[in-house]
Amino acid sequence: MGKQTALYQQHIDAGAKMVDFAGWDMPINYGSQIEEHNAVRGDAGVFDVSHMTVVDVSGRDATEYLRHLLANDVAKLDVPGRALYSGMLNEDGGVIDDLIVYRMSFGYRVVVNCATRMKDLAWMAQQTSGYSVSVEERPRLAILAVHGPNSIDKVTALLPAEQADAVRQLGNFRGVEFDPWFIARTGYTGEKGLELIIPETDALTLWVKLLSSGVRPIGLGARDTLRLEAGMNLYGHDMDESVSPIAANMEFSVAWRPEDRDFVGRTAITEHRKQQQAGKLPCLTGLVLEQRGVLREGQKVVTDCGEGIITSGSFSPTLKHSIALARIPVNSKSCQVDIRGTLTPVRIVKPNFVRFGKKIFD
């Protein structure tokens, strides 16, 4: 038996099929992944993502430490509650993990992937050398992500009036602390929604109230198809330590300016960028298969410029055909995928497929 979140019994009670996810017993679905996916696109759903690792960073040098540790620049976080997405790179410019960092009243809160927890914590500890900073894991916090067009109304209906007002006014990538709760407009679905980071002792009550107000429980299966439609990377699939953020569509999260900010991996990815401009480093792009069939991770891609590979692929419940993320040679114009032995033509699109329930590529 694996590790369990505070809501393990609630998942079983809700009919979950439980699977091992990086040592945790997690719900893959509660019956139908497609129905859960559609509930998030059309109404509201809640994910228990308490298996993710929360790390609080505080101390006099917290800002300078994170400005060195992360490819994005926490100096952009001008007020408490603001959040940004970043890669945490090694010196070779490979991605150790991708994460969200929030500015908090006490410093910063970083949420990293569960499968990479051990190496992340070790790396973060190692990088503290020379900084007056405290890096503390917060294993007793639960995270509930509530997403979908009606999610914010459903959550705010459960909060005291003052808190509800504050949450309703949040912009995207903004959060608010109601100590010990933290509620932010962040997520992994391409829909409006909130992530609630709360003491695990509060998780049960919140979960029950959400379900009573019609919010559907959503498993990790639908979480994957939702994030794929939103064109969001999944660590260990779309990138890892052997892949540059430049080859993983993460350049938007690299803060090149100010030019004198010395973050880990900067020299390497500066070189990667030049290589890509010279056509020598692949890029992560979107693929669309409008005929029957499903693109899957690991399938070989053949383009007019060379070969590539699908890093994430699935059926898109919203679009009702298959979509994928693939790492292929830059400047590729035409593209085929080897689906079970048959080279099948696919279209190359920007790696964003669905936002707010609607198709967003041409």
């Binding site: 679905n29 139908s32 992944q33 299966g221 198809t225 029957r292 069939g293 499903v294 899957r296 059926f315």
Partner: protein
């Protein structure tokens, strides 16, 4: 209701067979198979008139999770396919033993049925 009806025979590869009044074999996939695959999104069916051999792959199902081959548990000729699955593949999840059938075979060797499992043996097979 049992997930494995008593009037069917089952293959280790999770197909079921039902013998109709004319002695033809209707083939589908078991409750266990559709449950393990998850939501089914495409079904690829054989062509009517095709000759098939037992344990040979004759159809494909794609679910949100994976692609999976469907084997014919018996040899013979395909005499019908369930075209409704092309537009409504989810029927395989909702009614694996009724509306979710895949194809019918005019059997060339009825003794092959003896190699298949009954409901109890198959239920045990799924628990392993």
């Amino acid at each position: 209701m049992s997930n494995y009806p008593d009037n069917l025979k089952y293959a280790a590869s999770h197909e079921w067979v039902r013998i109709d009044d004319e002695g033809n074999a209707t083939v589908g996939i078991s409750y266990h198979a559709q449950d393990a695959l998850g939501d089914i999104v495409f079904v690829e069916l054989p062509e009517v008139g095709t000759t098939v051999h037992a344990k040979e792959e004759v159809a494909v199902v794609e679910s949100v999770k994976a692609a999976s081959d469907i084997y014919s548990p018996v040899s013979g000729e395909i005499i019908a396919v369930n075209g409704d699955l092309v537009d409504a593949p989810e029927t395989v999840n909702a009614q694996p033993y009724d509306g979710g059938w895949f194809f019918k075979v005019a059997m060339s060797d009825e003794s092959e049925l003896e190699e298949l499992m009954d409901a109890d043996a198959y239920a045990e097979h799924c628990d392993d």
